[in-house]
């Protein structure tokens, strides 16, 4: 197990800045998720830790040792790739065995460890098959088995579930979580799926344009997004972000009037999560408009209301029914949290 420290690391491709001077400490045994949209620098950051990309400037320390110039093989890491990165000409057994073989582990021990690892990820019966004869989920397990067979200090996982179907992704997510709990190895996980980040991470680093914009526990990031970008990125359905202004301690937008603790100013965005809104009957609700859409998700119904440019979504009861375009009213629940942001800079105001 190991602590990973990134100190002012920067990555440039010519004049393009992929990662700009970032520092980050990943604690021993932690499951850290690098989360962000495509092109935000999360995979580049991970590849720098792996030694697959050179660092333009800065230092990477593993277990307190500077490893900038060490080749990947000497960093004591294991990585699971988005496209699995299996060796197609080798059987499952040979794939899992390969890292042990490279490290000179004796044949007898190799055999035992391969069998143990394969059993752990339920591949015991498929050891003599080739990757082309496996399903996507099975291939992903082979990649996982290959990573865990030699118990490295650090696991790096680059969107390992993105090629799986939705159902399998949920199953594999649970398996990853269990595996981390069982092995306790420091893990860095890259994803653009906020649900994966929320469910797996000890801490999440949300990245945007090569910078970490927020680093915290999933709970904290969900409850207190640092800026407008994080607020819109985390949560499904995402947070309602309503453009308006504050006058006399009240946030005002088309169909919206909510008291907020902020001095008068324009260009304010008010954020409130759909699950913190109730559908109310009376016309004197703080949020009023016409029903725009109803989406049944199974356990609830997403109710979208519109008033001019204002669009607000609430999570209602599964059997809620109403006519489209009929008047609709929403009330924040008791204790609902309002998030206020500056529209121009995206900064959090309160």
């Amino acid at each position: 197990m190991a602590e990973v420290r990134l100190v002012d690391i920067e990555k440039k491709y010519g004049s393009f800045l992929a990662v700009s001077k970032q520092s980050l400490t990943i604690h021993d045994g932690e499951f850290l998720v690098l989360l962000g949209p495509s092109g935000c620098g999360k995979t580049t950051t991970m590849r720098m830790i792996a030694g697959l990309e050179d660092i333009t400037s800065g230092d990477i320390m593993i277990k307190g040792e500077r490893i900038n110039d060490k080749p990947p093989k000497d960093r004591d890491i294991a990585m699971v790739f988005q496209n699995y990165g299996l060796y197609p000409h080798m059987t499952v057994r040979q794939n899992i065995e390969y890292p042990l073989k490279l490290r000179g582990v004796k044949r007898g021990e190799r055999k035992t460890r391969v069998q143990e690892t394969a059993d752990k990820v339920e591949l015991g019966a498929l050891l003599d098959r080739r990757p082309s004869e496996l399903s996507g989920g099975q291939r992903q397990r082979v990649a996982l088995a290959r990573a865990i067979v030699r118990t490295p200090s650090i696991f790096l996982m680059d969107e390992p579930l993105s090629n799986l179907d939705a159902k399998l992704r949920v199953t594999m997510r649970a398996e990853l979580k269990h595996l981390h709990h069982e092995l306790g190895v420091t893990t860095v996980y890259v994803t653009h799926d906020q649900m994966e980040a929320m469910t797996l991470a000890s801490r999440v680093a949300v990245m945007r344009e090569g910078k970490i914009v927020q680093l915290d526990t999933p709970k904290k990031i969900y409850a207190e997004p640092a800026d407008l970008f994080v607020a819109g990125f985390i949560g499904s359905p995402s947070m309602n972000l309503i453009d308006g202004s504050v006058k006399g301690g009240v946030f005002r937008a088309d169909g919206v009037e909510i008291p907020v603790p902020l001095e008068d100013r324009s260009g304010v965005v008010l954020g409130i999560r759909p699950e913190e809104l109730d559908i109310s009957q009376g016309p004197n609700a703080p949020i009023n408009g016409k029903l725009y859409a109803l989406e049944l998700t199974g356990e609830s119904t997403l109710v979208t209301l519109r008033n001019g440019p204002t669009s607000v979504c609430a999570r209602g009861h599964a059997d809620f029914e109403a006519d489209i375009n009929s008047p609709c009213h929403l009330t924040p629940k008791d204790g609902a949290r309002f998030h206020l942001f500056d529209r121009a800079s995206g900064e959090r105001l309160g």
């Binding site: 792996a50 030694g51 697959l52 080749p71 990947p72 093989k73 960093r75 890491i77 294991a78 990585m79 790739f81 988005q82 496209n83 699995y84 990165g85 299996l86 060796y87 197609p88 000409h89 390969y98 890292p99 490279l102 490290r103 990649a143 290959r146 790096l156």
Partner: protein, 271 residues
């Protein structure tokens, strides 16, 4: 009606092309088994003989030594060219160094020079080195001819291999050379086999340099064929027997590796 006419026309054209292509080969195979008096006859009614094959392997023709020369020159060329070209192709495919494209173009551009232009400098060089009429000279020349071509071919196959597996191997603990040996080469094997066959065929059939640079000891099969044009006229039956000796090994090899050959071609073409 129109359709059947088109069908008949299409078939007729195919048969015509097949006859044009196959006739000389069939003629060569038949002539190889004819006696000298039947060599110019187009009749299929002749008394077959194996004497031509016996004759070409005996004095003064000595086809045996030419077969040996061809086999050694082609095999050694392949054995040296393919590994070197594979490493070069890997470098061109994977390392983003400055001037990479220019260097690759430079290597390919050696193929644009007509052989006849450089045969004299080669002759002078080998004369200076006392290597005229040696297999070594022919191997060196053939390496110069085929290596750029094989680099270009193998690079196409390596380009088509995703880098994920290589990176996984590096993280698993493999050095770059180990990655090439354990991961890249097995994955590019069909392509490398295809390139090796092309390399062998090119060398096996090479004529101009072998003609100029060999005299007696290093004469290869294609050059040996010319010796059947004598003062007594062209000895077509012997030339055909020798032609069969040149064609059959390549033919058998093509049959054996046809599967890989096709797979290799596709692997390179589809990215």
């Amino acid at each position: 009606m129109k359709r059947s006419l088109a069908y008949v026309g299409e078939r007729a054209l195919l048969i015509f092309i097949s006859v044009v292509v196959l006739f000389p080969i069939a003629w060569m195979f038949l002539t190889a088994f004819k006696k000298p008096r039947d060599a110019y006859s187009l009749s299929l009614n002749f008394e077959p003989t194996l004497q031509n094959f016996v004759t070409v392997f005996s004095e003064p023709w000595n086809l045996g030594s030419m077969v040996m020369n061809s086999v050694i020159v082609a095999t050694v060329t392949v054995v040296i060219a393919v590994p070197c070209a594979a490493l070069a192709a890997y470098s061109f495919s994977r390392f983003r160094v400055k001037g990479r494209k220019f260097l690759f173009f430079l290597i390919l551009s050696t193929q644009f020079i007509p052989a006849v232009v450089i045969v004299l400098p080669f002759f002078l060089m080998f004369r200076q080195l006392d290597l005229l009429d040696t297999r070594i000279a022919l191997i060196i020349v053939n390496l110069a001819i085929v290596t750029p071509f094989v680099i270009w071919m193998i690079k196409g196959f390596i380009d088509a291999i995703p880098t994920d597996s290589e990176e996984a191997a590096m993280i698993d603990g493999a050095s770059r050379l180990r990655v090439i040996k354990d991961i890249v080469m097995p994955m590019a094997a069909p392509g490398i086999l295809t390139s090796s066959i092309f390399c062998f065929i090119l060398t096996w059939n090479e004529f101009l340099f072998a003609l100029i640079l060999s005299r007696r000891d290093a004469v290869t099969l294609p050059v040996g064929l010319v010796s059947f044009r004598t003062e007594r006229g062209d000895l077509w039956e012997l030339m055909s027997a020798a032609g069969v000796m040149i064609t059959v090994p390549i033919f058998i090899m093509a049959l054996f590796i046809q599967k890989h050959f096709t797979r290799g071609m596709t692997a390179g073409a589809v990215k």
